[in-house]
Symmetry: C2
Subunit: 645 residues, 2 copies
């Protein structure tokens, strides 16, 4: 093996306060790369099944990867992973910004955090030295003041800080982790796990540079990429409008989630669009480490009830959907305020919006009343309801706040009365703002994501509907013909399976899917060269996609151990029902076709189609045979095992 990469992992036991660094060796790095791959490896190895996610026994992992920190756009993301308190399944969320690279500059690829601190604390890592420091005076603060307090206490203005606000401390099941107040590990409640461990923040600062195998080559790749980004059409749109560029086209396609997914058409969509934002409250664009895309928004509302500070960034498309169209709210300033509150409290904006939408639908159906809402009119379209709801959830205000803080699945079970139909979740995680009725691949992605409904586990199929540049970009996968977004059947199963490997690879490599891959500037082939230039490995798209597939399978095994199976890989009933208006009015997903797609997918993955249990041979093929003992018990007794020992 070329001695191309070796990094360090820091173990932190909060119960005892002991810390230890280890070097797992190059073969492990090359096999799992980092991020989701590395995190699921350690969770499977070290976390037993059945653990309460909010107990000290849960393990919390912060994982960068083998390429983050290199001076090239779009490869800065890091993963926070643990068993999820929202779903009880595998939990994982990525964030961009500068924190991930900084962790590497500070000398570590990943942190494995166990136990629970006796008192609130934070972790401080600088240039290879780690400290657990008391956080009693900081506990309870919103993210802004907490970050300031830590930087000031450390005397390190340049410390990068990932932390939680009140929602994390209060163990809201979908509390997120925020770094630098605006980059968010959003989904699956990783902030609640931090809170449960009495861990307020992780501050990092480092001056080590990442060792590059071929600096000259990387410089060339980085320069080319920057030039490409500047002239690549889709990236130019992203820079101009951010992810909010999607509002208008998705609304036109009839799949902008509106009124808690009853329809995909929002009459006031233009009022919450990226174009509208650019003309009104946009203060500037922002970026992650070394990135030329600059897709992030910073907005400011100077005065009035929705005064918002740009230091908390600005709403992404997902937030414009979840706090906007989903709730039939068309006031961009109110949405921006809601976004700011979520970042101050560390609430995932998607789950928060869906929880509030659930409450609104319950309210309109008479399952909740003014007595539950302090007299606030909790119907769709009311910004006050949205903003109050956020606050109540973050602080688990007794009553509706506390109820919604556990997510819509638990809330609906408590409310009953048919409210389950309004609870838009999969495996307990609330739906993101893409309606699968217009793009079947998204439905598969939602149903099959190990983290519950999640929009970053596989790409949408819309970009690949027609011959053209996007299709050429996925040709290295062997996908040579366009497949319409609403097509079901074997071609869709194939494309989804392969693209899912790509997305899974991104999560293990910290790659942003607005820079690399099928739609954006950097091609899959370029990405292989980037990994090679940084690590020195003569790798290939084959090897890298197999890491992606490996990570998908590991997360599957994690969930099987926790009792999840095929029954959980489905969509809420509402998505099988027709859309009520818009371009796709009357369109729902065919349940039988969807089930057949799932079967094809399981089989394509080498999983038993009854419950998605990987075969022994598939584990062997993926170099995961060490999981065979975990999986054995899950295999049905009637599974064919001719000749097997």
């Amino acid at each position: 093996m070329p001695k191309g990469y070796n990094g360090r992992i820091l173990r932190v036991d909060l119960t005892s306060g002991q810390m230890q660094a280890e070097e797992p060796g190059e073969v492990l790095y090359r096999t799992y790369l980092g991020g989701g791959g590395l995190a699921s490896y350690y969770l499977l190895r070290e976390l037993g099944p059945g653990v309460d996610p909010l107990s000290p026994e849960n393990i919390l992992i912060f994982a960068s990867n083998v390429i983050s920190g290199a001076p090239i756009a779009g490869m800065t993301r890091f993963t926070v992973a643990a068993k999820s308190p929202l779903t009880g399944a595998y939990g994982e969320a990525e964030a961009g910004g500068f924190w991930g690279p900084e962790l590497k500059f500070a000398g570590f690829d990943a942190l494995i955090i166990t136990g629970k601190a006796p008192k609130p604390c934070y972790l401080w890592i600088k240039d290879g030295v780690a400290q657990i420091r008391p956080a009693e005076t900081i506990w309870g603060l919103e993210t802004g003041p907490a970050q300031e307090a830590i930087q000031s206490e450390l005397g390190e203005k340049r410390a990068r800080i990932a932390l939680i606000g009140p929602a994390g401390e209060n163990r809201v099941r979908y509390a997120c982790v925020v770094n630098e107040l605006k980059h968010v590990n959003g989904r699956t409640g990783m902030g609640a796990v931090m809170g449960s461990k009495n861990l307020k923040a992780i501050a990092v600062r480092g001056t080590q540079k990442l060792a590059l195998h071929d600096p000259e080559k990387l410089r060339e790749l980085s320069r080319n990429l920057a030039e490409l980004i500047a002239r690549h059409g889709p990236n130019k749109v992203l820079r101009k409008l951010g992810t909010s560029n999607l509002i208008v086209p998705l609304n036109n396609q009839g799949i902008l989630p509106t009124r808690n997914f009853r329809t995909g058409f929002f009459a006031s969509a233009e009022k919450i669009s990226g174009e509208q934002m650019a003309e009104t409250i946009l203060k500037g664009d922002e970026s992650c480490y070394a990135c030329a895309v600059r897709c992030k928004r910073a907005v400011r509302v100077s005065s009035g009830p929705y005064a918002t500070s740009e230091k908390y960034g600005g709403p992404e498309y997902e937030t414009l959907g979840s706090l906007g169209s989903l709730l039939c709210i068309d006031d961009l300033e109110a949405i921006s305020k809601g976004n700011e509150l979520c970042n101050r409290y560390t609430l995932d904006t998607i789950s928060t919006g869906v929880a509030i939408g659930f409450a609104m639908e319950c309210f309109e159906a008479g399952l909740l009343g003014p007595a539950d809402t302090e007299g606030i009119d909790f119907r769709f379209g009311n910004p006050e309801a949205m903003l109050k709801g956020i606050e109540w959830i973050a602080y688990r205000k007794p009553g509706l706040g506390d109820l919604l803080a556990d997510g819509v699945k638990i809330a609906a079970a408590k409310i009953g009365g048919g409210s389950e139909a309004f609870a838009l979740h999969i495996k307990g995680q609330e739906l993101p703002m893409h309606d699968p009725r217009g793009k079947i691949g998204v439905g598969l992605s939602y149903a099959l994501s190990p983290t519950g409904a999640d929009h970053v586990r596989a790409p949408h199929d819309t970009p690949f509907q027609a011959p053209g540049p996007n299709l050429e970009r996925i040709a290295p996968l062997g996908i040579l013909e366009p497949v319409p977004a609403r097509e079901t059947g074997p071609r869709k199963a194939r494309n989804f399976t392969y693209l899912q490997f790509v997305w899974s690879l991104y999560e293990s490599l910290g790659v942003c899917n607005f820079v690399a891959g099928p739609v954006w500037a950097l091609t899959l082939t370029d990405l292989v060269e980037v990994v090679q230039a940084i690590t020195g490995w003569e790798t290939s798209l084959w090897e890298l996609l197999k890491v992606g597939e490996r990570a998908v399978t590991m997360a599957r095994v994690f969930n099987l151990r926790e009792g999840f199976g095929r029954k959980d890989d489905t969509l809420p009933d509402r998505l099988f029902a027709p859309l009520e208006s818009g371009a796709l009015k009357g369109v729902g997903i065919d349940r039988r076709e969807f089930e057949d797609l799932l079967t094809l997918y399981y089989e394509a993955m080498g999983w038993d189609p009854r419950d998605g249990v990987p075969t022994r041979g598939k584990l062997a093929e993926l170099n995961l045979f060490w999981l065979d003992d975990f999986v054995k018990a899950k295999r049905s007794k009637d599974t064919p095992q001719v000749g097997a020992t």
Copy 2:
């Protein structure tokens, strides 16, 4: 899609004499590439199950591929494929030389030959124009005179001719196809299929150059490769000694097949070694089109009973084994004579040697006697028996010749009396000269090859036993750790599965495994670049290996249709028994471990472990869902199909 490649396929119906060219389009070429991939596609599409391989209904395909003909070393091989008369299963054999590129210069990628000519004929293709010409005066000639007669009749000294001799005409079930008297499509009896169609030869001549997408890049790759070959250790050995360099090391390892596989040690091995050949009868080295390796031998024996002409080339390692050590014959001149006879008659030297070894063991066991052998002492070690045997087989001499001409499986069934134990075959095809008891991967390769026992369907594992350059060369597959040759279990299943995809890719791309891939000069990554420079496709190792996997699965489906299943994927009993002498004395293969390996392999392939039937999802994943109807009937009724339509 980039308009990077488009080629033509010629259909020849010998019954009617009609011919037609067609352009299947770029997507088909990119999906199947050529060779085995393209051939199995057309056989599955157009050849129904249950056809008698020697009837006019069989379809005979000669297939080059999308890269052959480009001026670069090691990519010249072409495939002949049909249902095999030796096994009744998928039949396929590759050959090097100049014929494959010449077919492309003549304007065609492949020939699809159907029906049966009313009288002996040959096919003449020149620069896009094809002719069926009478061959009555040539029928019956050995290859040398036949080739001369055709060239002289055409007035084309430079016509490249693939043809059959008496063995093909007489439908010896393992008759081969020879081009330019020494390059051989050896296995599975494709020469007999030619004979059954009254097709004596295919002569090709072309002056068209292959269109190159990026000639400059290809020139650079070709130049680099030539330089690399000149200094790459393993290639240097090949040039000096040819494949016969293997005799001494394999004998030292105790796995040089000897005395019909009873032992792996031949006391006189050095007398038939590459070194010995180089010092005595070697007349020169020879090469295929554009190749700098020059691994081929030409030998001359000037006088005596074994006088041999160099125009028939010289024995490869396989022939030195099958006509040498296997029969305990240590006379290099006699072996060379045997090799010449096989090329004159068009007999596969491997099957021929194993058939004679079978007869020798029967003779020693008293199941055959002097009355069967014209009084010749048919015991191991007698060159006269070997040479007479070859002649008798080629002409199906009534009695022993006719018996052996059907292969050892049929012969043993006729002789009975326990002779089945001496019949070293799998699915009816005789074993090549590698003993799986010393390298388990070879055992898997033999058992699983769709063509029956075959040594070119997957690599030997020996080169990857230790860390070092060979291991680095397979690292792009994600294989990062050495696996000992005799190890069984999941790591072996994984390595075999991946390496089999590589070998299968070679068969579809016409790539020689002495130039590209794991051991030799050209790396897998280079190969991707070569394909790209020639075709203009931005391809990847992922896409190319999936073509390899696709071809493996198509051949599997072909065999399933013909009634083959798990029961046929095994080794002869002798290989489970211990070797009688040599370095591995006492070593046999553990049957239970081997069965478990097979199960892991089926599952890794997405095949039902009971009979190796691909799942619907695997067919979908490989873009082979068009085969689902063929496979449906084969799926056991109790196969889990939850949710399937």
